[in-house]
Assembly symmetry: C2
Homo-oligomer: 141 residues x 2
């Protein structure tokens, strides 16, 4: 396997609600490859897909039941602490639950977490030790 991941798929309870959050709320643009029951957002090289949770479990041949911590988080890195505050204020206006208010954290950065409408956890963080390129991608040694 080459070092890559092509798609992150989030299982959602209400596709229209989630489309509203990501498309109308965050302003992410869906691909024309989207279909009635699955929506694709091209991100920086990868694709975020929204798909009904039960259908996703069925596709993976696993039981759909599950609760509590998913054990996986997604992170959005900003260019400043102020931008963390701005993003969190914006998603809170969209109805996202803020589970960790923006704050300085032990590793030297500034971080916050919100839940999307289905509880998927997003960190929004400024890492002063990491450089971002012109696309906002992290440049790691």
């Amino acid at each position: 396997m080459n070092p890559r991941i092509n798609i992150i798929t989030l299982g959602v309870a209400d596709l229209e609600r989630s489309i509203d959050f990501y498309e109308k709320g965050l302003g992410w643009k869906r691909s024309q490859a989207s279909q009635d029951d699955i929506v694709f957002f091209p991100l920086n090289g990868i694709v975020l897909a929204l798909y009904p949770r039960d259908a996703l479990a069925n596709d993976a041949c696993v039981e759909a039941t599950g609760h509590g911590f998913s054990g996986m988080t997604l992170a959005y890195n900003t260019a400043s602490e102020h931008e963390v505050d701005q993003v969190i204020a914006a998603v809170e206006r969209l109805g996202a639950t803020i589970v960790k208010r923006p704050q300085k954290v032990f590793w030297g950065g500034y971080s916050s977490y919100f839940r999307d409408p289905d509880g998927h956890l997003f960190e929004v963080a400024y890492n002063p030790f990491w450089e971002l390129d012109s696309n906002g991608n992290v440049l790691l040694p």
Copy 2:
């Protein structure tokens, strides 16, 4: 928020076991930015991080307990059906659990799912309708 995700963090029960799976097994190369308790793999523009599950929940200010379907999957797209078979054979030799054997699926592709050592679900799929660029990234309209 610009359309991007910078980091996917997988909570893991045994960091060394997971490093073995991704680094020695899959052959992904860890960044020098990795530290004793967190490992970063630069992928196609994004970063996959491995971090102890309890510490990840603590960082997000949520309870660490949880079980069943996480509601989120990661996908690796290949250039052929044969490559799906090859990848699944390889991860099975590494001890991954194959939850869906490679098979033709309703949307016209060829797909399989495995679980990594912590149960995180990866799809390996060939989509004949999607074009990949020279880096293996999906080109979406």
